[in-house]
């Protein structure tokens, strides 16, 4: 008996499971790739924000330093003396009743009044 097994003429079945597996794998790889790109972009975006914030902080610090230096200059003795000389500010004597002393000064002898020193004999 001659038995020969012939393959079926139109045996080309659709392997749905295989296709789904491959599609899933491709989709997964695609999602991973896109996710990677998205995260990279986010990282770059955040990096840019960090850079921007750092620049702003540096700018504010720098402005602060400029203002501190200017303040030191304006409140320095020569600057204040110049403003007094120019008449922009005046030195007003504080009356004794406006001075609160933590340790009351000892009264000078004899007349009981507190003496102030005075010896400005240099010619003006």
């Amino acid at each position: 008996m001659n038995i020969s097994i012939q393959p079926p003429a139109h045996n080309n079945p659709v392997h749905l499971g295989k296709i789904l597996r491959i599609s899933f794998l491709i989709t997964l790889l695609l999602a991973i790739g896109l996710g990677f790109v998205y995260l990279k972009n986010r990282q770059f975006g955040l990096g840019e924000q960090i850079r921007q914030t750092e620049r702003e902080i540096r700018q504010v610090r720098s402005e602060n330093e400029v203002l501190l230096a200017r303040l030191a200059g304006l409140s320095s003795r020569p600057a204040l003396q110049k403003r007094i000389a120019d008449g922009f500010i005046a030195v007003v004597q504080i009356s004794s009743d406006k001075i609160a002393r933590l340790t009351p000064p000892a009264q000078a002898v004899d007349d009981g009044g507190l003496r102030t020193v005075f010896n400005d004999s240099r010619p003006q």
Binding site: Q43, F44, L46, G47, E48, I50, R51, R58, Q59, S62, E63, E65, V66, L68, A69, A72, G73, S75, S76, R77, P78, A79, P105, A106, A108, V109, D110, L114, R115, T116, V117, F118, N119, D120, S121, R122, P123
Partner: protein, 587 residues
């Protein structure tokens, strides 16, 4: 399969395998064997070491008043390869930086990647320029951070503060001695940049934060400094001397409360100063101290028991022949006590006390008072002065040195020597740095340092008592008096040493060295005037320097809120002031 086909396929596969093996081998070679080399090359191309500059520390006075600080500025530079429209860029830059437009265009057209357009540009100007560049959507102008050191008080305290060189290294004053503390340490960060030159934050490498400079708090009180400088300015203007020196010291701690010399300079513009103006004469000038030195021999003789409060010394009626020369007094005196020798400033009395002590003992006391050694102030260039050992003395030295000749000292040594008498016999090290403060608030105090006990308190009190009488009627320094307070002090008038040898005739260094109040001294003050242009009959420490001391001490008393303890007195106008007023009237 037929054999020839199989052979062809095998050959093709083998060739492909060989080609891919070569490629793979090359990849392995590049990635593994040559990794370090190419990683370095890639790093050179894309990554750079970005320095993060440390902020230089500030210098403040004892009350926190700012004496030296930093002003941020920018260096503006262009990367010509980034500039698409040179005309527009040049126009904007010229408007902001005040440079001629054509000059900027020339620089930009050079095509260089780094062309400095202007240095030391104020931060606000740079910010405005940056804003406008952004608004106009232009690129190619960049800014580097920089800062300049500023001294808000100008020339006040210039000698003490010093200044920086172009590398921001301190080269004089506190800026120099405390440079390591002030400078801090720069940090760094490795960064990578894209093709437009912008940093890719994602690829930041190793970084180290900068350590900012520390704040140096000085013992200087700017209130007293202003008083001192105002008075020595007036003296320098009115008497036109070669130099004027003044120091105020806290005798108990050795704190330098104020220190100034004329001529002086503005540390904001050191380039404009002459070398003579830059010298801090209080620590680098040697002078013969004159009679102020008599406190040393008096304290030494008392302490050694060679004399006591009651000992009478014959002062030879003003002429003492010794060693083949005649030593003279200003007036002829007979028998005098140690107290009177100091009050009348007798040269002969002082010389006889030194003779009683002997050369070795006297020299020992000179050294114990701190003369001939560096006292260790935290300022550069302090000199030890010149005190020869007895083996190198000639026969006259023992009679000349007690009155402040044949010895050279610094003004600072004189002030610290007087502090020994004021504080009860202790030689304190001069202290100008009070503390060092970090940004996080930790403070390292620089404690006062005792160098040595020089004389017992009893001896110091006795000498102090005599010095208090120096400023009373009959003493040599009545013009040093301050209304409401008892002042102790000593005048000094020394002929200037001539560079040609011997003494320069008619040229004097006059001084007054005193402290106040006598009962509980709050400060020691030295005023020294070198070669005042004034009539020779007025050129004495008691007439030139003492009134300046008096004015400084009076204002200092107000500043320190000292309570007057003495009855009110009427102070006369000093003869120097009267002479100057007359001169002004005649002009």
């Amino acid at each position: 399969m037929r054999r020839p086909e199989a052979i062809r396929i095998a050959i093709a596969c083998a060739l492909a395998a060989i080609v891919f093996t070569i490629f793979s081998a090359r990849l392995v070679h590049l990635h593994v064997t040559k990794h370090d080399k190419y990683a370095r090359l890639a790093a050179q191309k894309h990554s750079m070491r970005q320095p993060i500059h440390a902020e230089r520390g500030r210098i403040v006075d004892c009350n926190g008043e700012v004496l030296a600080t930093n002003l941020p500025v920018r260096t503006v530079f262009a990367d010509a390869s980034h500039i698409k429209d040179p005309n527009a860029v040049a126009r904007i830059v010229a408007a902001h930086l005040g440079i001629v437009e054509t000059e900027i265009r020339q620089k930009i057209e050079s095509g260089k990647k780094y062309v400095v357009l202007k240095r030391l540009v104020p931060a606000e100007v740079a910010a405005a320029l940056h804003r406008e560049m952004q608004e106009q959507k232009l690129r190619g102008i960049y800014f580097e951070h920089d800062s300049i050191r500023t001294y808000p008080n100008g020339r006040m305290l210039g000698h003490v503060l010093g200044f920086l060189d172009h590398k921001r290294k301190g080269i004089q004053g506190i800026e120099r001695t405390m440079n390591s503390e002030l400078a801090g340490r720069d940090g760094y960060r490795y960064t990578e940049r894209d093709r437009t030159g912008r940093e890719i934050v994602l690829y930041r490498g190793i970084e180290e934060d900068p350590v900012h400079g520390k704040t140096i708090r000085l013992t200087i009180d700017m209130g007293l400094q202003a008083i001192l400088e105002e008075e020595i300015d007036a003296t320098y203007r009115d008497l036109k001397p070669e130099t004027v020196n003044a120091i105020i010291v806290d005798p108990h701690t050795g704190d330098i409360l104020a220190m100034a010399s004329r001529p002086c300079f503005d540390p904001n513009e050191p380039g404009k100063a002459l070398p003579e103006q830059m010298k801090n004469r209080s620590i680098i000038d040697m002078v013969e101290p004159g009679s102020t030195f008599k406190i040393v021999v008096a304290a030494g003789a008392l302490n050694e028991g060679k004399v006591d409060e009651k000992t009478m010394i014959f002062c030879e009626n003003g002429r003492f022949a010794y060693g083949g020369r005649t030593l003279k007094d200003h007036h002829g005196y007979g028998q005098m006590s140690v107290h009177d020798i100091l009050v009348k400033s007798s040269n002969i009395g002082s010389a006889k006390m030194a003779l009683l002590m002997g050369g070795d003992k006297f020299h020992e006391y000179v050294r114990r008072f701190g003369f001939g050694e560096r006292l260790g102030i935290q300022l550069p260039g302090e000199i030890p002065g010149l005190v020869h050992p007895p083996s190198r003395w000639d026969k006259l030295t023992i009679t000349r040195m007690p009155m402040g000749h044949s010895v050279a000292v610094t003004p600072l040594q004189m002030a610290m020597g007087m502090s020994v008498i004021a504080n009860g016999g202790r030689l304190m090290a001069p202290r100008i740095v009070k503390s060092i403060e970090t940004k996080d608030g930790s403070i390292a105090e620089n404690e006062p340092r005792l160098i040595r006990e020089v004389v017992p308190e009893k001896t110091a009190r006795f000498v102090g008592g005599a010095l208090a009488a120096v400023t009373q009627p009959g003493g040599t320094a009545t013009y040093a008096r301050v209304n409401g307070f008892l002042v102790a002090g000593k005048t000094g008038t020394a002929e200037k040493v001539s560079p040609a040898g011997g003494y320069a005739k008619g040229k004097y260094v006059v001084s007054f060295l005193g402290y106040m109040p006598v009962e509980n001294p709050r400060f020691v003050c030295l005023v020294m005037v070198d070669e005042a242009k004034i009539a020779s009959n007025l050129n004495y420490g008691g007439l030139v320097a003492a009134p300046v001391f008096s004015r400084i001490a009076e204002k200092a008393a107000r500043h320190l809120d000292l309570v007057p303890t003495e009855p009110s007195i009427t102070l006369q106008q000093d003869p120097v002031a009267a002479a100057l007023a007359n001169k002004e009237r005649n002009n």
